[in-house]
Each structure stands twice: as structure tokens, then as C-alpha cells.
């Protein structure tokens, strides 16, 4: 009689289905996948005392409030971890430091040292926050990016590096600060020639979403827990109508693009009202009330309707050419996406054109005449600069 086959709904690992939980990621085998109406998959909580198999070693998950990952390391098997998650260990386990080449990381307050535990023996880890443990089994060559400070442990074969998530903005205040809503770095884990396991701790509950090829989603930047390395992302800012009056003017989102999995956590600390000003990583902008339907052309086919920021974002993460032709009601014809921008004065997305700077309108003339005597040479240099102007009202657009 052939063994019954079972494919884990969460991690896709094939098994016999005889155990109560998936041996690779710990998801219970006897529950249906729980999917919210909006398509988020609720991470099946790893049952208390479930065992995961990693090579010849096992890992048992204990407790349900702040779960413990208890590894029984077979001889020569190893795991690495940030030193502050160690809960207890046998005297037999050998600890050593895994030095990372990261002076910038040291300056950013991240651990430069990962501790490395070599078997045989038992060692257990936990994170000091209520939440869920997520086991991410990695097939050879597969890689996953994880938010900083949430790693619990990874098996010794998994390659570790850190990457720049490219998401930051400066915030005006009593002193100007730079915010990194996804962290200054993300940890990237890649399985080499053998399958590996990465355990991360998500505060609160963890939900995952499998995004299709061109699918996109806006999520709270602080909620991002992990993503497949194939997922691209950038910041997206939405300006609500009248928000400026309250001293707050923008929602800051993280826009993610498939294909791949995205994991979010439900507890991510207090959010502050931040008004991004000045420099920032590449982002897209939109006025919340803008409902213009845009169409774009991909591989010669008309796609849409969608928002302009989606098309701009796809171009930003190189999923579409920067000069993709787009069109909306009221435009004379198809225009390249990089010529359309949000005009603050019109309050809507307008075609722009690049022109040499010359004073235009009463306000710009007054400013020029005031500034001319004060910073004379700079005003002259300005005559050689190119600016983008809204084709409808003539305002300078960033």
C-alpha cells in the first residue's frame, strides 16, 4: 500500500500526513486553511508541542502565548541566533560567535554578533513578546527577507546577509529625523544546497498573503514581518483632503508587488502621525479622493482601469518600462507614465512637461524680484535649470 500523500497548505512541503502537524513548518494537518474575506491566510498556530524536523535535528514548539522553540541538535548540526533570544541550554552545546562584516549595522544598533550553537545538545529560544512563531522552511536556493529583530533562529546551512529595504523618509519636527518604517536593514536568508529552516517571531497574530504576478497591496510598513525575496516594495503616500489643517497630511504605506508571499503581524507598536517632508526614498503619491481611472499598455495590450500610483509604482520597481504609455479620460492621447504627476495646485494628477525655468505668474515674479538682489548669482543659475510644470495650471511639480 502506498503512503498517503499530503501537501502542507502553508509551506507546500509534501509529507505522509500521518503526523498531527507538518514536519517542516509545524502547521496542523487536521485543520482547513483559514482565509479571511479579503484573502489573507491566517497562519495556522503551531500546536503546542509540535515537532519540526530539520535534517537530523528536531525542534519542538512549546507554549502558545510567547512560544519557545526547543532544538534538539544532532551531532555537528547547528543553529544561529541573536544572543538576546536564548532561553536556556544544556551544558553540552558549544557556543561561538558568528562575526558579521557590518560596521554600518553596528552603528545602527543591530547586533554585529550572531551566536552560533553547535550540537549535540539541547538549546531553546523565545522572544519577549506575546505572539506567534512562524517556521519558514527554505528549499535549496529559496530566499526570504525578514524584518530586523524578529529572527528567532536559523539552521546553520542557511546563508545570512542583510539588505537595504530602500524605504525611508525624513520627518519635520523640533529636529529633523529620518524614519525607517521597515527598519534600517532587512535580514535575508537563503538556503544553500540543503533545505533549511528559519524561525521568526511575529508579535500578535500573523497573516500571510500569496500575491500573484502583477498583484499589489498597501500594508502598514511597521506590520511587514517577512516577504519572499521575489516581492518588490516601495513607499506610497496618500494625502487626505483637508488633512493639512490638523497638522497632519499623509498616510505612509508600504506597497508590495507579487509574485510571492507577504507576512504581516497584527501587533506593531504605536503609530505616530508622521508628516514626511524633504528627502525620502522613491515613492508614489496620491490624493485619497482621486478616483481617476487610468489605463496602461503592457506588451501591446490595454490594461486597467487602475490608479496612477499603481502604474507609477510598477515602473518604480522595474516591473514596467519608465515610459509605459498610459491614458485617462480627458487626456488628448496616450502619454508616457513618467510625464504624469500629482499637481498640488490642481489637486489631481495632470500631465506635465519639462521646460527651462522662467518666472510664470504673479507669485513667481514677486519671489524672483525679492530674491534677485539677495542671492543674485543663484537666480541666474536658475535660468539654466529645467523644471516640470503642470500643463493645465503651470505650477511647478516635484
Amino acid at each position: 500500500m502506498s503512503a498517503p500523500s499530503y501537501t502542507c497548505g502553508f509551506c507546500g512541503t509534501a509529507g505522509t500526513g500521518r503526523a498531527m502537524s507538518c514536519p517542516a513548518c509545524g502547521s496542523p494537518t487536521d485543520v482547513e486553511k483559514v482565509v479571511s474575506l479579503s484573502g489573507w491566510e491566517e497562519l495556522p498556530p503551531i500546536p503546542d508541542l509540535a515537532r519540526l524536523q530539520v535534517g537530523r535535528s528536531t525542534c519542538q514548539i512549546e507554549g502558545e502565548l510567547a512560544p519557545v522553540a526547543d532544538f534538539t541538535l544532532a551531532g555537528e548540526d547547528s543553529v544561529y541566533f541573536a544572543h538576546h533570544v536564548l532561553l536556556w541550554m544544556d551544558g553540552e552545546v558549544q557556543l561561538q560567535a558568528l562575526t558579521l562584516s557590518g560596521f554600518r549595522r553596528f552603528l545602527a544598533g543591530m547586533p554585529v554578533v550572531m551566536a552560533y550553537a553547535r550540537g549535540p545538545g539541547r538549546i531553546a529560544f523565545s522572544h519577549d513578546e506575546p505572539g506567534e512563531l512562524v517556521a519558514l522552511p527554505l528549499q535549496p536556493g529559496q530566499s526570504v527577507d525578514v524584518r530586523e529583530h524578529v529572527l528567532l533562529a536559523a539552521t546553520g546551512d542557511v546563508r545570512y546577509e542583510f539588505i537595504d529595504p530602500g524605504t525611508y523618509f525624513s520627518v519635520a519636527g523640533s529636529e529633523r529625523t529620518t524614519e525607517y518604517p521597515v527598519g534600517l536593514y532587512m535580514d535575508r536568508f537563503t538556503a544553500s544546497t540543503r533545505p533549511g529552516l528559519v524561525l521568526v517571531h511575529g508579535a500578535g497574530n500573523v497573516f500571510t498573503r500569496r500575491l500573484g504576478e502583477h498583484e499589489s497591496l498597501l500594508i502598514h510598513p511597521s506590520a511587514l514581518l517577512y516577504r519572499d525575496s521575489s516581492v518588490a516594495m516601495h513607499l506610497h503616500v496618500e494625502h487626505p483632503a483637508g488633512g493639512g489643517l490638523s497638522g497632519w497630511s499623509a498616510y505612509v504605506w508600504l506597497r508590495v508587488y507579487g509574485p510571492g508571499r507577504v507576512g504581516v503581524r497584527s501587533a506593531y507598536g504605536p503609530s505616530r502621525n508622521l508628516n514626511p517632508t524633504g528627502f525620502h526614498s522613491a515613492w508614489t503619491e496620491r490624493r485619497v479622493e482621486s478616483t481617476t481611472a487610468w489605463y496602461f499598455s503592457r506588451d501591446g495590450e490595454r490594461q486597467g482601469p487602475t490608479s496612477l500610483s499603481y502604474i507609477q509604482g510598477m515602473a518604480l520597481v522595474n516591473r514596467l518600462p519608465a515610459d509605459t504609455p498610459i491614458w485617462a479620460e480627458g487626456l488628448p492621447g496616450w502619454l508616457p507614465v513618467n510625464s504624469i504627476a500629482l499637481c498640488r495646485r490642481c489637486g489631481s494628477e495632470q500631465p506635465t512637461m519639462r521646460v527651462k525655468w522662467r518666472p510664470l505668474g504673479l507669485a513667481e515674479w514677486i519671489w524672483t524680484l525679492v530674491l534677485l538682489p539677495i542671492c543674485f548669482p543663484f537666480t541666474i543659475i536658475g535660468l539654466f535649470l529645467t523644471v516640470r510644470r503642470c500643463t493645465r495650471c503651470g505650477a511647478i511639480v516635484r
Partner: protein, 267 residues
């Protein structure tokens, strides 16, 4: 008459009881033991009733559990003032006089232990996700608990504190200078602790030892010893600011740990 013995606290109960009257552990679920020999503290179900001297205590909620006690005339419980959630008007409060309290005041501990006298209802909770652990104390049993971890104890229990010996243990042990010691001198008493996250307990044989993160320690039998050790092999030259200290806990006796530890920088 047939009786059921509780796996967690070993007291006997009627067979039809859903949970242990002394500690609240569900009686019909076997105690969960991990591969490495840790017993998980029983998950006390919502609205479980526990006998507390002549009074009845109810555990409410499962994420940040509340212990609500209906004190009868003549019963009293003591607690640290910061865990009090609410009380009935008639419940009288007083202060437990402690010997050597000034030393603790200098060490930054509140040396005021409050006592609530029945009759009336009073409820306690600690403002963190975790589990309540009920430890019935038999006469002669001595338990040491991490400071600030105890929620309440019945008036049969006597409270004192022991100073941790050794400068290294004080500085790097993560427990501060004192451990709370609970003894039931004549009559059985009940001690209730709150552990952050999940609580696990292990019984160590004579001479058996394990290394534990200092912030994870929750309670131990008085016979169990704790000594701080620096883990070798983690120095990495110029950036080697990570000197990791772990506590070596040596038997014989029980030791309890919490999974959401109080982390102290050990650099």
C-alpha cells in the same frame, strides 16, 4: 471513594471535578511534557475556581488573567500593591510589617506588602500577557520566586526575602539583590505567581544543572542553587561587546522559567 490526583500539584480531587481545587489545573488533560523534560504549567481555563483557605478564588481571562477572590471572614491574602485591580468597599487593607525592610527600600524594591482582610471581594492582575501559576505549599516546603513575580499568597504562607549571595550574581544574575521566599510553616497555604508568556517547570536531580537566561528565571525550590556564568567563545575582538551571562541552575529540586523573559543588558 475514588479520587483523582492532580498531575501538577499532586493534591487529590473528586473524580467529577473538571479542574483541581488546589491549583486550577484541568484534571482530565495530561500534563504536557516537552522532549527535553520541561512540564508546561497548566493552562488554567477561564472561570476556574480554586479553594484558597476557606475562600474561593476564580481565575478570569486567559491572555492577561485576573485572580478574583471572595474572602470570607477571618481569611486574608497578601500582595504587592501594584497588582491590585479592584476591590469591594468592605475589604480592609493593611500593611505587612517586614524585618529589614529598609534594606530593600535602598535596593529599589517596594518593601510594603499589603494585606487584604475578608469579608469581601478583591481582584488582582499583573499588566502583562502571561500565565498564572498556582503553587500549593505544604508545611515545610520553601519556594524562592523572582522579585515582583508574585501575585498573591494566602495568610498561612509566611513571606520573607533572601539576599542573593555574590556580587557577580547580583550584577549579572538579572534578579536584583533579593529573592522572595515563601514558606508555609504550620498549615498548607497557596502561592500564586504570574509568569510572563508561558511558564515551564523542570525537576532537576541532585547535581543536575542547566544554563538559563537570567531574565527567564521565575521560581525554584529553596534547595536549588543559582550561579551566574559567563559563556565562553562569544568574544569577537574590537566589537566584542557581547559578554553573555547565563545562570547555571543546579538541583535537586524544581525550577520554573517564563518564556517572555525580563531581558537585562548584560554587556
Amino acid at each position: 471513594m475514588e479520587r483523582l490526583r492532580c498531575d501538577w500539584c499532586e493534591s487529590t480531587n473528586p473524580t467529577n471535578a473538571p479542574s483541581c481545587r488546589s491549583c486550577g489545573a484541568p484534571l482530565h488533560d495530561a500534563t504536557r511534557v516537552t522532549d527535553s523534560g520541561w512540564r508546561e504549567a497548566p493552562r488554567i481555563r477561564d472561570m476556574t475556581e480554586i479553594q484558597f483557605g476557606q475562600s474561593a478564588l476564580r481565575v478570569e481571562g486567559e491572555i492577561v488573567p485576573v485572580a478574583e477572590i471572595a474572602l470570607v471572614e477571618g481569611d486574608s491574602v497578601f500582595f504587592e500593591h501594584h497588582v491590585l485591580l479592584w476591590k469591594d468597599d468592605p475589604v480592609a487593607l493593611s500593611v505587612l510589617a517586614l524585618q529589614g525592610g529598609m534594606r530593600r527600600a535602598f535596593a529599589g524594591m517596594p518593601f510594603v506588602i499589603s494585606v487584604a482582610h475578608g469579608p469581601g471581594r478583591i481582584a488582582f492582575s499583573r499588566d502583562a500577557t502571561g500565565e498564572l501559576v498556582v503553587l500549593p505549599l505544604h508545611p515545610g516546603l520553601e519556594i524562592d520566586a523572582r522579585e515582583h513575580a508574585f501575585l498573591l499568597a494566602s495568610h498561612h504562607v509566611s513571606y520573607s526575602f533572601v539576599r542573593i549571595q555574590g556580587l557577580r550574581n547580583i550584577l549579572f544574575g538579572g534578579q536584583g539583590m533579593f529573592l522572595d521566599r515563601f514558606v508555609a510553616p504550620h498549615q498548607p497555604g497557596v502561592l500564586m505567581l504570574h509568569g510572563y508568556g508561558n511558564v515551564l517547570e523542570r525537576r532537576l536531580g541532585p547535581g543536575e544543572s542547566i544554563l538559563v537566561e537570567p531574565g527567564a528565571f521565575l521560581y525554584k525550590d529553596a534547595a536549588v542553587t543559582m550561579n551566574v556564568e559567563q559563556v565562553a567563545g562569544l568574544g569577537v575582538g574590537f566589537f566584542g561587546g557581547v559578554g553573555m551571562n547565563l545562570v547555571r541552575i543546579t538541583g535537586p529540586g524544581r525550577v520554573g522559567i517564563q518564556s517572555m523573559y525580563v531581558h537585562h543588558n548584560t554587556e
